[in-house]
Subunit: 158 residues, 2 copies
């Protein structure tokens, strides 16, 4: 399977990975959520090479994850803003942060405050039906027929 094949998968995880599941797209998402908007600052804060950065920004604009806005006419200068589609990637970045803080040693890099209750916190996953926290062990996954048809798992232990 090439990366491109993931785009047509029945699986939403695979389709998302094709769009944003690479090192530099994820690093750019982190940066956008920290409020960075301009090419030079994106470059400095991620150290992505200008050539790669330019390509990623173009692809993310085409995908509707960010949008380009001119902030200066003379000289012409653009900045990049998250769209609603892009902002909805926040849980991906939160999940990577939570995992890294737990399992990969390092300082606290970012404090998060919930604007409504003013508490510092890390968001957590819950079941929206009962409100209880959920982890991988708490949830049973069942592959639908449509997705099963794409998979070829034999009779061994999957």
């Amino acid at each position: 399977m090439s990366r491109n094949d993931l785009a047509s998968s029945a699986c939403a995880v695979a389709r998302s990975i094709e769009k944003v599941g690479d090192t530099w797209s994820l690093m750019l998402m982190r940066e956008f959520f920290l409020g960075t908007r301009r090419f030079e600052a994106l470059h400095r804060n991620t150290r992505i090479s200008p050539h790669v950065l330019s390509g990623r920004l173009k692809a993310m604009c085409a995908e509707g994850i960010i949008e380009k806005r001119q902030y200066s006419e003379h000289p012409p200068r653009d900045e990049y803003l998250l769209t609603e589609k892009g902002r909805d990637l926040w849980p991906v970045v939160m999940a990577l942060m939570t995992w890294g803080e737990k399992w990969l040693d390092g300082p606290e890099a970012v404090a998060l405050r919930h604007k409504a209750c003013l508490q510092e916190m890390r968001p957590t996953l819950v079941c929206p039906e009962c409100g209880e926290p959920v982890t991988a062990r708490d949830v049973a996954a069942h592959v639908t027929e449509e997705f099963a048809g794409e998979r070829c798992t034999g009779s061994d232990k999957g």
Copy 2:
């Protein structure tokens, strides 16, 4: 910045991206959470080439995300199981799924049932302090001094 530099970042997001923020590691995590354990099945269900798959499994074992267990002595055969560290990546896969289901057209591929309350659901993010759902707009992020030192954002709009 090369991918390797991310490992020493003050930012937990960057450190996590260095470990699992690539297409095939993320695809393998999806597969592990669907219960797939064996090389042949991992290969079939992700179409990752055997060479790349072998390298990723070795790296994920070295990182403590999965562990290898022999399930047959004659012939010798191994399977790969998520560790606690690996299971803690579940929110990353959930976040990718939720985003893909909302923004990238496709069928429902996987049904999730919360074992405790028996409801089908998609986990959602809440503030653990007040219990309210949170999105990017609800949370203010503040970069700590340690992380600010690694960044070079000037006086422009980040």
